[in-house]
Amino acid sequence: MLGSEGDSLTHYYRKRLYERIQVIRPLYHRLQRFEKNRLMLTRILVSLQKAQAFPAITQAATKALRSPLSEWAENIQALKTTLEQDETLSPKEGTELILYSLTTLLPVAQERETYLQDLQSVRNIAHTLAGSGGTYGFKDISQLARLVESAEPHDLVLALQHLLLLLHQHALNEQPTDPQAILLIQKDPDLTYLIQHHLQAAGLHCQAVQSAYEAWQEISKTTYPVIITDLVLPDLDGRRLIFELHQNPDSEHSKIVVLASPQQLNSLENISVSAVLSKPLQPEVLVKKVQELLQISQPVALPLEQTQQTGLPQFGALQRYIQSSLQPDSVLLLFALPGAPSERLRSFTQLLKAQINPQDFPANYNQDHFLLFLPSLADAELLPFLKGLRTTFASVAPELLAPQALSIAWNKRIGTPLESQIQELEQNLKPFESVVVSAPLLEAQKAPETQPAAKPIRILLADDDPLVAAILRFRIEQEGLQFEALDDGEQVLPHLSAGLPDLLILDVKMPGKDGFTVLKELRQIYSAVNLPVMMLTSLGNESHVIRGLESGANDYMQKPFSPDELISRLHLLLRKKAQRSG
């Protein structure tokens, strides 16, 4: 690798990403607006198509709908003329409304040149990022950028939104911005002063603006984890602003706190906010609320470190991410699509996106793996969600084969016993060739407060076959566990005395001492609880299995073994050990 040069390169590139974001952001907003308006135009045209009593209109609308983008302006103008000139229509309700909508939306169709230019610019940037991302070690950027580069125009905006989010995760902004900054939108200067004063006293920096317009400018400059807004603003209804804040990629992760008078509380029913504080305001309550929100909103963007070989997130990084990200009921799904062509992976991705909310989507793409993390999904919703996925595969894209494997992991759940859930899942997920439901992700770390630095889990292998060692190293390190290997039976005991691993995998046939002798000797000193041992025996030699178990092995695997099975058994042993000693 590049060593210390590598760090400075990464640093350089992450700063460059920040500059990229500044370029992409206005393009994204323009494209998004264009797509939104185009969608509205399409809807109007589709509804006009249904006006069967007026063939002229139906015809004109159909023609406009089917025309290429370059002829939209012309065809919609023709449709407008038809509508205006048809005398039988004039008294009809809605005609004026439609005419008005068409008139306001027509400029969109005329913005085609800008739109095409923007589209090209975005594709060029995506192409560049696809090339440089991987070279600088950011495979995820490469992959997502390639998706943007090849996306159809109507998919591009969504893909670009994901790319922007990902860039935000990796980008480094060296301008001094306070990560704990709070934005206050309040037109009353006295209340502003009061709130700022109290937040300041609690060590929190609060930026204040007076109007929605100023707020909009402010969030494009800085990311605010918490935004406090009044419902009454001089230029915009507070509820509308909240809606827009949720849509804006710059603020969609921000927690929003609303200040409302008791009479206004009813009007907030359908608005999603993190907290509503009633006026007259108690500053202490506000400060406490903001502190609470800052704690959970901190890991807005946490890059997932990836393993070199697979491009998948490292287990440890993922665990930290999940742990910091949230609630006890989050779910992680890992779809394996070995050998899937990129085309198929893309459609699969799109299917998944259609199924879930984009904000639940810090997903990861890889050549044949697809990782999906749902921050929150209740027990009762998991199965319907997975069934829904299956139905989608069957109905929307029958040509798309279901992915071959699905791994599911979730945080510790209370209630239904894990085993029965696993059974139910396996029965209900037939299209997947294999379903692996792993241990609750966080069980191993029961009390992170008392044990701040979790000890890495160490696996020791004693086997003289270098191929077995290589395979196991790869798979075990992929699980985020530490792996050590010895190739001689004589070395095992001295190695153990230097520090006990969490699990020993022991081959029967070895130079030096054979596995049985080693096992017998080590069981004199270490109990099966302290040191679980998994024996590797050759196939068809049942006497080996019996002898091994009698000498104190906790489990055995017959060679040749399936690495996946070994891994799941290994987790089981580790779990048992953790339960007994904990």
Binding site: M1, L2, E5, L9, Y12, Y13, R16, H127, T128, A130, G131, S132, G133, G134, T135, Y136, K139, S142, R146
Partner: protein, 130 residues
Amino acid sequence: MSPPKLERILLVEDDPDIQFIARMALQRISGYQVEVCNNGIEALEKLPLFQPQMVVMDMMMPEMDGLTTFQEMRKMPAFAHLPVVIMTAKAQAHEIENYKREGINDVIIKPFEPAELGKQLEQIWQSIAL
């Protein structure tokens, strides 16, 4: 009789980020003399001045793309046999085939591994010399 050592490389690339990392990889780590051009036109101007032993070029560039630059280069008798390596993300078997048919010596697939770039070029250099 061993071939001359590879020392002078002309890098043609429009993305400043790739320029930065490739220069770092080739100059600082592998110890080559590297001259960087932003596009094909600049490259054609710089060729006679710098006299590189090898050209490493991006495929997709504004103004003049990699292939056109390459063809222009081949028209100049002094550089008709200069080894040219292109860097591209479009590197399926048939695409590589096409490049080779055009006379391009070798292809480096993007994204490339910076620590390996020097070694890769050295290997290509050796194979051409044989």
